[in-house]
């Protein structure tokens, strides 16, 4: 392993228990995840971590979209009839960040318990927000032209 990998706390925490004796105290948090089941293949946990990070990037993109809409409103005074839309978009981004963490915990628990993985039900929310934003933007553009 290259030395630069040592700067990632999550990776070192994830790999540390494999090098400790079986009777070592597991201090990883949250306890609701790490206190159940058996230690999975580290590749599975790493893939789950990457998926959670992808959720975070999606949430950041949604928040950035809300910010961009506010910029648009600042630059185009005519675009004022949908001032609630950036607020909804930014709140959706915050919800997605929390949903990503919750899904990471649920998937990690399921993997440790050798149980079926939970359904990605939050995808429906993302699709609904995308449809809502697209409809509002199209209607607003149609109204302006």
């Amino acid at each position: 392993m290259s030395s630069r990998l040592d700067f990632s706390p999550s990776l070192s925490v994830m790999m540390a228990p494999m090098e400790e004796p079986d009777d070592a105290v597991d201090r990883r948090r949250p306890r609701s995840v790490y206190s159940v089941g058996n230690e999975p293949d580290p590749r599975v946990s790493l893939a789950n971590e990457r998926t959670a990070l992808a959720w975070m990037r999606t949430a950041l993109a949604v928040v950035a979209g809300g910010i961009a809409l506010v910029l648009l409103e600042g630059a185009l005074p005519e675009w004022r009839s949908v001032t609630w839309l950036p607020v909804v978009i930014c709140l959706s981004g915050a919800f997605l960040a929390v949903a990503g963490i919750v899904r990471w915990a649920r998937v990690e628990r399921a993997v440790r318990m050798r149980a079926p993985l939970p359904a990605p039900s939050t995808m429906l929310f993302i699709a609904a927000v995308i449809v809502l934003v697209a409809l509002v933007v199209v209607v607003e553009l149609w109204r302006l032209t």
Binding site: M1, L11, R43, A64, I67
Partner: protein, 46 residues
Amino acid sequence: MSGPPAGQQERTLLAWRRTSLALVGTSLVALHLALTFPAHLQSYCC
């Protein structure tokens, strides 16, 4: 999912870097917004 754990760690580290860059980028855009349109931002809370 394939490859040795070391390769998976490398991919995960890259994911952390991408996410960090996205966070920094979003923060810069938000800062730009706050500096460019302060009066417009006040319309959301006042």
